[in-house]
């Protein structure tokens, strides 16, 4: 069964043109990859398309794949490059929508709410809070945001994050610390110390 294999085994099979092994990898990383892109780009609409791009890139690059590092770090590296290109394109078009369409943002937040039975007022407050958090994260410099998303949400170790970011572990640690201190300042209205 493809599901019992390690990532590297599956990837070596993909290298030989095995579509079934590729589908198994997609199943394994689909959710985490889409959410990684979503948190890094703060753009829900583009996340799925970018995830497609990343998986296609993985498939195309399979013949050149060498199992030197963890597959996940290789995947996140491709995903972070694709996301960075997307963010740069958006900035160039001067239509970056961190705030986005307020109604759309509200919809997104509504989907995320676990408890649908809370009062409307509480819901609105919660939505606003989530919007502010997302805006604060989106406002971080790219490297800081990438380090934060990789370690906080994707559960990568400092070493793995350093491989993705192509820097040293202390540098990653510093990026995360600076991200937290920036967020602490920006979320001062939300975080009641």
């Amino acid at each position: 069964m493809a599901g019992d294999n390690s990532d590297v085994d599956l990837m070596l099979r993909v290298k030989r043109g095995d579509r079934e092994a590729f589908n198994a990898l997609v199943q394994r990383y689909r959710k985490s990859l889409i959410n990684f892109i979503f948190r890094f780009t703060c753009n829900e609409a583009a996340s799925e398309d970018l995830a497609h791009e990343v998986f296609l890139k993985v498939f195309q690059s399979a013949p050149r794949y060498e199992p030197k590092a963890e597959f996940s770090t290789w995947l996140y590296r491709i995903a972070s490059n694709a996301s960075l290109n997307f963010i740069r394109d958006q900035r160039n078009r001067a239509s970056v929508s961190i705030d986005g369409d307020p109604e759309k943002e509200a919809d997104t937040s509504r989907i995320d709410l676990a408890d649908q039975n809370v009062l409307v007022e509480e819901q609105l407050i919660e939505q606003e809070r989530v919007r502010m958090i997302r805006k604060a994260v989106a406002g971080l410099p790219d490297q800081q945001r990438l380090a934060l998303v990789l370690t906080k949400y994707q559960g990568l170790s400092l070493k793995e994050a350093a491989t993705v970011l192509k820097c040293s572990e202390p540098a990653v640690k510093s990026l995360i610390f600076r991200a937290y201190t920036t967020l602490r300042e920006r979320l001062v209205s939300v975080v009641s110390v």
Partner: protein
């Protein structure tokens, strides 16, 4: 350990990434230092807020869309591979020469065929070179050689008429003259033509 070093490593402490010895040292410092303690609390609150970021679910058609794009990619790579191959000068030259040769050959065959649009044209050409009522068997016996198949005698560019006169066949008519099937059925065709003409004559006399 000073406050600066403690604060730089507070996230490690909070995420339980510090070695046990350092952890105890941190705990002692935090118990004594209010500033570092409040900084740690603020980081914990930021961490808790970040948990609210939420996540999204993939669409139910994610896999299908991906597979469609993969199929497109495979097709594109085949096409690009083919055109890349054509970009090689010698492959392109070979393909061009092959196509040119085939085109010229088809053109010549077409020109020959254009002159013989009906069965009458075929019979006319055959009668011209083989003579009226020239039996197929006679045609096959023209210039026979002992070791050749009877059909191969038709490969000659000349043919003898019943009168024994050798006549050169132009290249464009050779296809007709060499058409063995037609030659073999020549008598039958002629008989059919005669039968048809007789039948039409009879029917016309009956009507009269």
């Amino acid at each position: 350990m000073d406050c600066r070093k403690i604060q730089d490593n507070l996230l490690e402490y909070q995420h339980n990434r510090l070695p046990e010895g350092l952890k105890i040292e941190f705990r002692h410092h935090l118990e004594a230092c209010l500033e570092c303690r409040s900084f740690l609390e603020s980081l914990k609150l930021v961490d808790a807020e970040l948990d609210r970021f939420g996540e999204i679910a993939s669409s139910p058609y994610f896999d299908q869309k991906l597979n469609v794009r993969l199929d497109d990619l495979a097709r594109q790579s085949w096409h690009s591979g083919f055109f890349q191959l054509l970009k090689q000068p010698y492959v392109f030259s070979f393909a061009f020469l092959f196509l040119a040769t085939v085109s010229v050959w088809i053109g010549i065959r077409h020109q020959q065929a254009a002159r013989l649009k009906t069965l009458e044209d075929v019979i006319r050409v055959q009668e011209k070179y083989l003579g009226s009522g020239f039996p197929t068997e006679v045609a096959r016996e023209v210039t026979p050689t002992s070791d050749q198949h009877p059909d191969s005698t038709l490969e000659s560019k000349t043919v003898q008429t019943p009168a024994g006169v050798e006549q050169v066949i132009p290249d464009q008519d050779r296809a007709v003259v060499e058409n063995i099937d037609l030659l073999e059925n020549y008598d039958t065709i002629k008989n059919l033509d005669l039968a048809d003409s007789k039948a039409s004559l009879e029917s016309s006399t009956e009507t009269n």
